[in-house]
Amino acid sequence: MMSVRVGIPQTLKRAALSSKHARNIALQSALVRRGIHTESLPPSASQEILNQQRLKRPSSPHFTIYQPQLTWLSSIANRATGGALSALLYGFSLAYLFAPGTFDSTHIVELIAGLPEYVKYAGKFILAAPFAFHSLNGLRHLAWDMGKVLTLKSAYRAGYAVLGATAVSTIALVLM
């Protein structure tokens, strides 16, 4: 690769030994020939550019390949159940605030009473299971915060205990 190549380095080399002014003119002409456009940006634009680049970057598979384990499954389940129950609380409270006539207790109880039995059981199950799991896993979290059951083995044992207790509690609640 000893052949002469065209481009900016050659232009600069030629201009290097001449004056600075001549070098700049050579550089500019090289740029014009290449058709490079530059834009003047303030330093504060760096964060925006970085965010845009990050959005376009590919990410390695993480969520799709991680082996299902009690640790993280119970963790995301805790968040999901808590979020769902809170969304229900928020939804109902806001609905009552904006339409107290439609969402008052008498209407709601009447609506539920009119549903078929299997729908009532299904509804109870859908409410009881997340509530039981979130409450019991919450106790596991509080135990961690107190420094207990922090080893892998004990965390797993506590997790299985929570799952078992959730099953029992859900059945108890549905039958109440």
Binding site: N51, S93, L97, S105, I112
Partner: protein, 106 residues
């Protein structure tokens, strides 16, 4: 140091919900309206903190400058509305614990 107070408050709040939930099963909200009110406030605060954690994890303002901050304020407004709604429901209607008890047996 200051941040640890937030942590402690969050755990104390969650821990206080345990006996309150148990009590809600045993008694009725109509008998102890003050308890019902405290329970309602505690639940809403716990929910707000939970939602806020989800926003910090998934919609951090550093990465989502508009949406992150917008959702933060939306959450705060909604929590305010929910507090008013819970108050209204507990005052003008039968209250949260009573509603769940009735709806469960309906």
């Amino acid at each position: 140091m200051h941040g640890s107070y937030h942590w402690s408050f969050e755990r104390l709040l969650a821990a206080s919900l345990v006996p309150m939930t148990a009590a809600a099963f045993v008694t009725s909200g109509s008998n102890y309206p003050v308890f019902d009110g405290l329970f309602g406030i505690g639940l809403v605060m716990h929910s707000h903190i939970g939602f806020d954690c989800m926003l910090v994890d998934y919609l951090h303002p550093r990465k989502f400058p508009f949406l992150g901050n917008f959702m933060r304020w939306t959450l705060r407004t909604m929590t305010l509305g929910v507090l008013v709604g819970v108050y209204q429901f507990n005052t003008n209607d039968i209250g949260l614990t009573e509603l769940i008890a009735k709806a469960w047996k309906a």
